[in-house]
Symmetry: D2
Subunit: 333 residues, 4 copies
């Protein structure tokens, strides 16, 4: 019986499933913006995890050694209905207490729950785009035209249920050395201005002032102060942001960091360095470099305590085919 | 203008919001099953994080010292539409590639994307109960009758958008020492039987065989072998499970562990020790002890490698008022 | 194999399913507000459709005779993300064009679609509470304490998936005579004030001025002018509303109408006649009388054209266990 | 303040909104399958409602005259979690009784509800693709390659929130003459075979046997008997279906009917007349002709009663940009 259903189901299913495409589709014309093919990536054509390849055992061991006090700082913001959201993004939750009523009428209900132990439970329903709040993007989130990291195309990658490459199920846990760069402090302000482009000189200045260095495998986090607007003035928060410029990203990539992030909603400066090329920084990171990014980090506590070097840990729900996960990384020092 | 809206909104909003109730509601009759009030908890009446109070700086420091090789093992299962689910639980994801079409018709579209850089992006919509897959439950997930941990009642705790106590936003990151107890190996089987009750003697036997011990603040994980059915034979997987008995939970609680988990869907044995009291083990853990539980852990790799002691890290999306989070903890050794 | 799954599924399922409860739960104490039991209803204890019992063949035949010109007027508002919503209510839609990409890579893709005919399709994902927009409520939507129409209790009626009595699947299509009462016109205003209580004298005045009468089985619709704010000033729209008072509802019920509705979000006046008894009008309608109500009707066109008597048709998606349906009835004259 | 938010929101919003595109995109290459442009349609290039243009006042008036007995037959199936669904389609509902708990703790709670009248309410959350159950498709649901009805392209029509042409908000209520063609009865079987192609001769035979004729503006419904499998054997139901062939559709279109439907999930035969051209019948109907289709009609009762001519009424929730609505039309005779 099942076979009949499966036969028709196959009519609708993707015939060429995950992994079937042997290689990125050949070029069928010039790439946008005069680009030359940027693939294969530093980590090979089949690679899906980009700079997370830098998470070597040596880096993990070294990072564990940074735990001196045993303090844990939460870097995630709470996600609720008041979270700043752009049009098209949504998140809604409804509690489900129906079990209390259903259990209460079971033949063996004890008191007002199931069994002599009167057990009850509460769940919830969530619905939304999970590109909200503190998030870890997959490098499959952004494209240049229809080309992903390593040159795969939308036509090759998209399934109805998600993306068959670069989904969050491919993203490993991140346990590595973390560095916080407090650029607001460096500049002597509580909050960098919207559109401020963080430069390599800023990064070098902060490293010197903070007496830390960047190493391969690092998680490099930026404190711009912009995140203080999150949940306090969502309009202004979403109206733009300061962020690392393209030079900084290339500089970090050259140093083989694993992941970078900031206390802003899109990492790079908005408006950007080139108004004709919106969101060029994360686009370059994800699509060309395979460099992972974190958004909406809650960096205030680390900045206040001047904790600039720590064990960075980030585990996330591994939902298949997703382009992001709502997360809350932690800094351990 | 806004004030008018707010005025009416208040008609619908919970007048007694989070934290307003000063103390658990007084008893208005006997508790189910001849129970005496189990509150205040070991950590006080206002406590919301139960045994996660054991995550002390000393425990964190000691745990970091367990990283010797720098290997990271993922303990989470991939969540997709084929995940085993009980009636009433659901999870569905749809990819959203509409931005590719919308961007392509912007006045400044470059190639087939926004701007000269032809940027595009892909997101997804998820909808479901997040009580599926590898999950960390909040201790607010289960009740005895209408009483939660520390005696708070459903009427005090439920909001339309979630629970105002014990939501996942209250649950801190977990960074501590992890211990895996391979009870299947102890018993010389690939998989314990459904309904098998793991005893204190089993735990002590495994600890002796594995030459590890339990310490305060630990994450204690059980490998029963049952998890091998996950995604392979969902029917059988959901038809029952082996698990620690009530004695084990009390024994672990006495040793002040922080969290426990297993490669099964509900931690305790199903059918349980007392058929008249379903799911008594997690009910006792969450409601009476405030002991956190993890479900559907992927413990195979650790068991195969005989890694029994490690740094356990678990960070999760902090969604307000949720009773669980889909997670994928990691073991670092 | 299935039997094993079903066995466990039953653990979670409602043991006492729809229809099992033989009669409303006996009283276990006084009813709220000094109420005496209001059941059985005019239509009997087992009845689920209240005043829709008045939709007799004779009424349907007579209504069909009202179609003289063959014009059809849509009485529904378009539902989108800008629809006025109270806290806790939500509705979100995302288009799904993934099939275009999946089809394009089928082995037999013709051009950029499936088969030689290059078929493609577009769907959408919706998530939300369907208590938004123009809606037909089920009489199961509102309770007095925990008592529904005919005295059934929440404990008897609630399932995880919906309500096992009074769900929208029980509500028949509505084809009957419609009457529009233009109370704004009667009062010589474009829009009645917030909190204005429409009286029986108003109804009788409008009937006389409009030269129509109320008959058994009618759909009686009120034009208050308040609906002009819908989508134009959602704040003010939701801040209150004019509406029929309790006397009008009882007067209509005595005349055995089938359904009533208005161009407002909750039918009755807000603030209501008795501030200590919020939403008393719809509560009385649904819970005590079983009188069906329609909200957010787009009555402007009928009022402008002074069409006061017509064939009223309303069909709705029959989702099991729902308390409302998003609808768009039509007036045919 | 708002202006700043709006400014950034515009970055993300579709710059070329609904209606902006002045005409269908010019051809940029040959159409799939050797097609010539099929636009403009019979109803003009700007038309969005295709054959529903045939719903003239004269047709409506004539249809109303068909009501002789005043009986109303529901043609919709109940939608719930057991509804047959293809991969990628979903529908899930959870009841929301949280208001009972929130209301019970308001300062002015009377008994266990809000106010002295102790009002409470129940709602539900639904999430899914609404291409399930008894449905009315928009003609924007299907394409040939990336071309819609009237030649508009996916790039012109898709928004994040839905389609900006052909959405369900454009579809008027349907009130017209209905005709049921019982092809199963004509063939002397309870159920036509999967893949059976209903011919023009079949249609003419049924019309003669049933002594009815087709007129402009009609809703022409087919009873194949296949619908008896719906909800009883979903596997077999979805494994294929009988249905009208392409000739029938063209024959009906020539007679200027308004809408057609069947008791099957996709109207046309599956497997189809030409296995290399899947779902050619609905594709032709929607994309080339603008002929509306109804799926999963519950036609048994009309067939049993031999009611072949009736007033057909169909109103639907007008959700903006949707490609379908879950409906339950009614036949009145």
């Amino acid at each position: 019986m099942l076979s009949r259903f499966v036969a028709v189901a196959l009519l609708f299913a993707c015939v060429a499933g995950p992994g079937v495409a042997a290689s990125p589709a050949p070029l069928d014309g010039p790439l946008p913006d005069g680009q030359q093919p940027w693939w294969p990536s530093r980590y090979g054509e089949e690679d899906q995890i980009g700079t997370l390849n830098e998470l070597t055992p040596a880096a993990v061991r070294a990072a564990a050694g940074l735990v001196r006090r045993g303090e844990v700082v939460d870097l995630g913001r709470v996600l609720d209905g008041d979270t700043p959201k752009f049009p098209g993004r949504s998140w809604h939750q409804t509690v489900d207490v129906s079990a209390h009523l259903v259990n209460a009428r079971r033949p063996d209900a004890g008191g007002a729950g199931w069994g002599r132990n009167a057990i009850n439970w509460i769940t919830e329903v969530q619905a939304g785009t999970f590109q909200v709040g503190t998030q870890l993007d997959s490098i499959g989130h952004i494209q240049i035209g229809d080309r992903f990291y390593n040159g795969w195309t939308t036509k090759q990658v998209v399934e109805e249920w998600g993306i068959n490459r670069f989904g969050m199920e491919t993203v490993p846990p991140v346990v590595t050395r973390g560095v916080l760069l407090d650029i607001a402090r460096l500049k002597g302000v509580a909050r960098l201005d919207k559109g401020y482009v963080i430069t390599v000189a800023d990064v070098e200045g902060a490293l010197a002032a903070q007496r830390v260095e960047i190493r391969a495998g690092d998680a490099v986090l930026f404190h711009t102060g912009w995140g203080a607007l999150y949940g306090r003035d969502n309009e202004q928060f979403l109206s733009g942001e300061p962020g690392p410029g393209l030079d900084v990203v290339n500089w970090l990539y050259a140093r083989r960091i694993a992941v970078t992030g900031a206390d802003t909603w899109s990492y790079g400066p908005v408006p950007g360095e080139d108004p004709a090329r919106p969101f060029l920084v994360p686009q370059t990171m994800y699509t060309k470099l395979g460099l992972f990014g974190l958004e909406n980090l809650k960096t205030e506590e680390l900045a206040d305590k001047q904790v600039y070097e720590f064990l960075f840990v980030l585990t996330h729900g591994r939902t298949r085919g997703s382009t992001a996960a709502v997360v809350a990384p932690a800094a351990v020092y």
